[in-house]
């Protein structure tokens, strides 16, 4: 098999539009996975820091009638001279040549080294319209790419949800979080070890753009509890608001502004040690809000405490350090993925509302606004029967839709909806 060269189709088209008789060779950037024979070439440095190791890269669009061989030889010569004058030894470069034949661009690629030239297979990373074409039919891709989702909290929940929604074709994101990625986060967050220290919003933005470079992603590295006008503004501009923070004040603030601006909001969390979790879909005027359920005691199961900072926020200031530490009991990434997966499904149902997409049957199933998930027979689920071969009784690893109603005395949605 020849080495593979991937080029962004839209970048190649943009370069081609700049071609003139005097200017038909362009310098780009390439990244290789050493020993794997895979190269990615770009006309300009990508918006998201790429993986792989950099090496030389050139694009050539020879005038009609010329052959690829002399062009490549000339390019190799020029590259060698260019690097030599900069005091750098010429090792190798990827050369992508595009001939205009019969009304289309015929691509060739080769790996050029001082003593050899290896032919490569050039493949396009498809243009915008084709990137998520496989989802067509199941989802209204064109409608989804115009939808804007606000995600508050880009931790282990938010990062998974954001990337899944991008993969489904959602096109616009506002990401709000002030935290940076730390070592303790790595086991459950989508961020990588080379992202340590970065704002989680930007780590997730890059992950989204790596899946779909045509997404529009705005990041806000703010504590929303101190930037309430910004939160209100973001909610007002959203099609859906998702709150997956680890403190109640921010969840209540999101609940407040989502209700005030008439936006559906999703809230998700894990309970202690991620023995289970719950998801609330708050539809203004159509179902209970976060405060309705909290007031009814449905959300007072202790939430999972995953960091010492969260323990400090949740517990009184007089709590002893060893007690604080004991409160931090985290579940596995695999314990929270079912919860984020459910939130993604509810998000896609909400975002597909009014379209003729295939989410209709899922919407008919997901009529509840509040869902419980059970991961293990632990803590409050300790007394549950074993799953074994039974399907007709409570067991772990299942979703339970809970019938809930608005609290007529709720001081939050009662006032905001009627007012």
């Amino acid at each position: 098999m020849h080495p593979l060269v991937y080029a962004d189709e839209s970048q190649v088209q943009a370069l081609f539009r700049q071609v003139s008789p005097r200017r038909w060779r362009f310098k780009g950037v390439a990244y290789e996975w050493r020993g794997e024979g895979v190269f990615h070439v770009f006309a300009r440095t990508p918006a998201v820091a790429p993986s792989g190791y950099p090496l030389g890269c050139f694009f050539a669009f020879p005038p009609e009638g010329s052959q690829p061989e002399p062009t490549e030889a000339r390019v190799v010569q020029e590259v060698r001279a260019e690097l030599g004058s900069a005091g750098m030894p010429f090792r190798q470069a990827v050369l992508s040549v595009f001939h205009w034949r019969n009304g289309s661009l015929a691509p060739h690629a080769c790996l050029c080294a001082p003593d050899r030239k290896v032919a490569c297979d050039l493949r396009y990373v498809p243009a915008h319209s084709e990137l998520y074409s496989r989802s067509r039919g199941l989802l209204e891709v064109e409608a989804l790419e115009r939808k804007r989702v606000v995600i508050v909290g880009l931790g282990s929940f938010g990062s998974q949800i954001a990337i899944e929604l991008a993969k489904a074709g959602v096109g616009r994101f506002d990401l709000l979080d002030f935290d940076r990625l730390e070592l303790a986060n790595l086991a459950r967050h989508t961020g990588r070890i080379q992202d340590l220290g970065r704002f989680k919003t930007r780590v997730v933005r890059d992950a989204i753009l790596s899946k779909n470079p045509f997404c529009e992603v705005r990041t806000f590295e703010v504590d929303i509890n101190r930037r309430l006008p910004l939160l209100r503004q973001r909610c007002a501009g959203a099609d859906l608001v998702i709150s997956v923070t680890d403190d109640n004040a921010s969840r209540f603030n999101v609940n407040h502004f989502a209700l005030q601006t008439g936006r559906t909001a999703l809230f998700g969390r894990a309970i202690t040690r991620a023995a289970g979790g719950d998801v609330l879909r708050a539809r203004p005027g159509a179902g209970p809000c976060l405060s309705c359920l909290f007031g009814q005691g449905l959300l007072q199961t202790p939430a999972e405490v995953s960091t010492i900072e969260q323990a400090r926020r949740d517990l009184p200031a007089y709590t002893a350090p060893d007690q604080l530490q004991a409160t931090v009991q985290v579940g596995l990434s695999s314990d929270i993925l079912p919860i984020t997966n459910m939130m993604v499904k509810l998000a896609l149902v909400a975002l597909s509302e009014g379209t003729a997409a295939g989410m209709q049957s899922v919407a008919e199933d997901l009529v509840a606004d509040f869902y419980l998930w059970v991961n293990r027979r632990d803590l409050i689920y300790r007394a549950w029967p074993r799953m074994e071969y039974f399907y007709n009784r409570n067991s772990i690893l299942r979703w339970y839709g809970i019938r809930t109603q608005r609290d007529p005395a709720c001081l939050v949605c009662g006032q905001l909806i009627s007012g």
């Binding site: 309430l228 109640n248 949740d314």
Partner: protein
Amino acid sequence: MDSTRYRIEKTILEQNFSRRSAFVDRYNPETFSLRVGLKCSSGQAYQLRIRIPPDYPNSIPRAYVMTPADLRDRAGQSLAQRSPSHDMHLLSPDGNQIQLCHYKPANWHPNVTLYKVALKCLVWLEAYENHMLTGKPIDHFLHS
């Protein structure tokens, strides 16, 4: 606090703490608070300052005892100096004004009103007076 919630809070307080409560600095987010006078079953009166955060009722308000200033425990030690204290249900003070622990932050929710916060503070004050009589920590009364 938005104007609708403000009206609700004011109405409830007027019904239950008529002429014993007043909002202060409503338009200053740094100092907006409720002053409320509470009287224990012993007849002893206390004045509290309940500091209202800018995102109230989504965040928990903080309750401080203004008068009598510098409350002391049965042994005569300043409660402000003993703070924060699990035994006495006290959070970090503001100068010599002790801060009462009225709700665990994780249990707070926006359907709790300032009236209920004041009632929970009254329960703390009753427990404090029992501490002064018996020497038992406040936690003993609040958990028994």
